[in-house]
């Protein structure tokens, strides 16, 4: 059952003051796809989900479920199931009753209700909890009951509103895998809302990165990670945050070089990085007289201990030991004006945990040959590539 959002908008009027929660959203979710709406708080992702559920009426635009327009249809009739961030379990009913109320309301025969409940309970590992009330259950158990309540209906679409955000880290990781497994097993179209980009990357077939009511980019997790459409997407997706270097382009002898420099004085270049030709020539040519931003992910830097020409000189500010990977937080020594970095005042480079680094140690940063560096126009923030 596909979900299509066409020109969807939602405006909240508060007297003279209006809030545009969702602006002209166009999204197509294929049947059986796991689609995530990803974005920071207040970007409109939950509002969009609630519009698909029917809990909010769009100000303009249409919603299609399986080809049929449902924009004005009441939530009860849409055959969608939602899992709320706070689970919204009925506190006066047992877990079993919570699971089965919707079936009872639709007059499903008692025998079938019991069977379906048994299957779902087993699938989620809550068979031993069915007689308990929500207050007697832990967060993870409640969440599974909420999931079960949605699954047991075999709806056409699942709507999940940040269902994992109330769980502690370990449980979140476990439930993430559970969700993925369930999705593979049930193959129900799923619309998932999250602000956790790591979660979205792991779970989704496709995602939409939203910001201020607008979908900045829609694509597969890979596309979004390696080919972000603009600086916002590049910064939002990927942990640790992407490094952004401010500079300009020079084209000589057919090769384009990105130069990191002090802005006022283009002559004084801090580093030169040849680009690997992802961008078409005409675009590069046009970009030569603008300020340009180069995005490099922490794992794309190559760290050198000896000075090398054309590489950026940095100094280790401190080290982050993150377990399997270590991160060196580096500051630019030569950047007195502090203008070379477009994002904060430090660079992050991933270093193998074998390398022994000390604070204050000078390092020279190169960019790996396989790195898929990203180029953005500084003014618009939009990507210059592809």
């Amino acid at each position: 059952m596909s979900v299509i959002l066409r020109s969807l908008s939602k405006v909240y009027e508060y007297g003279v003051h209006a809030v545009h929660a969702v602006k002209n959203l166009n999204i197509e979710v294929q049947a059986g796809e796991f689609f995530t709406l990803l974005g920071p708080s207040g970007c409109g992702k939950t509002t969009t989900l609630r519009m698909v559920a029917g809990l909010e009426t769009p100000t303009s635009g249409q919603i299609y479920l399986g080809g049929e327009e449902v924009t004005e249809v009441a939530p009860r009739k849409r055959d969608v199931a939602m899992v709320f961030q706070s689970y919204a379990l009925y506190p006066h009913m047992t877990a079993y009753e919570n699971l089965t109320l919707n079936l009872k309301v639709h007059h499903v025969p008692r025998r079938e209700i019991e069977e379906r409940a048994a299957v779902v309970a087993k699938m989620l590992g809550i068979s031993h909890l069915l007689k308990k009330k929500p207050q007697q259950l832990s967060g993870g158990e409640r969440q599974r009951v909420a999931l079960g309540r949605a699954i047991i209906r075999r709806p056409k679409v699942f709507l999940l509103d940040e269902p994992l955000s109330n769980l502690d880290l370990k449980l979140r990781e476990t439930m993430r895998l559970e969700l993925k497994r369930l999705h593979e097993e049930l193959k129900i179209t799923t619309l998932y809302v999250s602000h956790d980009q790591g979660e979205a990357m792991v779970l989704s077939d496709k995602m939409a990165v939203m910001h201020d009511g607008v979908a900045e980019q829609i694509g597969t997790p890979e596309e979004i990670y390696h080919q972000p459409a603009n600086i916002f997407v590049a910064k939002f997706v990927g942990s640790p945050t992407i490094n952004l270097l401010r500079g300009f382009l020079i084209i000589e002898a057919g090769a384009t070089t990105f130069c990191l420099a002090r802005l006022a004085d283009r002559a004084d270049v801090l580093a030169r990085y040849p680009l690997n030709g992802n961008t078409p020539e005409p675009t590069l040519a046009r970009a030569c007289d603008q300020e340009v931003i180069l995005g490099v992910r922490a794992e794309e830097f190559v760290v050198h201990y000896e000075p090398r020409p054309g590489l950026l000189r940095t100094e280790v500010d401190f080290l982050e030991h993150a377990g399997s990977v270590n991160y060196a937080i580096l500051k630019l020594v030569d950047d007195a004006e502090g203008k070379a970095l477009a994002n904060g005042d430090r660079l992050i480079a991933a270093v193998s945990y074998h390398e022994r680094l000390v604070n204050g140690q000078p390092l020279w940063l190169g960019i790996g040959k396989q790195a898929k560096t990203k180029l953005f126009a500084a003014e618009s923030g939009q990507t210059l590539q592809g």
Binding site: A53, L55, A74, P75, R76, V80, A81, M82, F84, S86, A88, L89, Y90, P91, H92, M93, L101, N102, V105, H106, R149, R153
Partner: protein
């Protein structure tokens, strides 16, 4: 083991104080029980009498001489009926005012609450005149109508408060589960608000049971309620203490049983709003 005993001994001043206060509070009840079992002569003693030969004469008299059972029956009919009507109105109003977004919802709620500020005595005489015209004086209907009118504001305010506390997501989950609005009210909202509704019902019942002024104004003989019947034992030159105490005992007992059985719900209802 020794440590546990030591700790308990340490708290003995506090415990003693607690026991003292409880004793102080319970003493009137205790004294009432004793008095109900005394003859007139025993009651009138200057030096209070604690050890004596008990008698059930008082209990006997209130039923034979003054037909107490009629008063009890009247009070039951009136209190149960008014509480029922009040609760029906309060739950419906409380639901609408608490969860449905009405344009002037807050104003209406405020107005209903303001009715609570009317002292019953202010409406006593007008109601009397009205009921004389209707021929309702000394009929159950009069008090049921008046108690319903007087009891609704407080009950609505209480119930509305409880309905407001219920998170909207519960409604939303219910509607996605396929329940209509009425079904949601019946199957989800009312059960969840039940502690609050019970508190409102209990308060209303107690109010109607103990109410004296309006009962006095609007009844004469046949529809007498318990407070009136008990006060009739205060005669012109003399007070029948024994009978008063006996009447009270009879009425307290079921109340005690009910409150004892429902105390968990009462406490929960009273404190539910306090801690989130």
């Amino acid at each position: 083991m020794g440590q546990a005993i030591r700790l308990k001994l340490k708290r003995w001043p506090g415990n003693l104080l607690a026991i003292g206060l409880v004793a102080l509070w319970l003493f009137p009840i205790f004294w009432a029980v004793l008095t109900s079992l005394k003859t007139r002569a025993q009651q009138d003693r200057l030096v209070p009498l604690f050890l004596f030969h008990p008698t059930l004469d008082n209990y006997n008299e209130i039923f034979t001489v003054s037909r107490y059972e009629v008063a009890i029956r009247n009070s039951l009919i009136i209190s149960i009926a008014s509480t029922f009507f009040v609760m029906v109105l309060a739950v419906c109003s409380g639901y609408v005012l608490g969860r449905v977004r009405l344009k002037h919802g807050r104003d209406i709620a405020m107005w209903i609450l303001s009715l609570r500020m009317i002292p019953p005595v202010a409406v006593g005489v007008p109601f009397y005149l009205l009921f004389v015209r209707l021929g309702w004086i000394d009929k159950h209907l009069a008090l049921i109508a008046v108690y319903t009118a007087v009891g609704v504001p407080f009950a609505v305010w209480l119930v509305q408060g409880f309905f407001i506390e219920i998170p909207r997501e519960l409604d939303e989950a219910a509607t996605l589960d396929g329940l209509t609005e009425t079904e949601t009210l019946w199957r989800v909202l009312i059960p969840v608000a039940l502690p609050g509704i019970s508190v409102a019902a209990i308060f209303t019942f107690i109010f109607t049971w103990n109410e004296y002024l309006l009962a006095y104004l609007l009844t004469t003989s046949r529809a007498k309620t318990v407070p009136l019947a008990v006060s009739e034992n205060i005669l012109e030159y003399h007070v029948e203490w024994g009978r008063i105490m006996a009447s009270s005992m009879i009425v307290i007992l079921p109340m005690l049983v009910i409150v004892f059985l429902l105390q968990r719900y009462i406490v929960r209802g009273l404190t539910l709003g306090a801690v989130k």
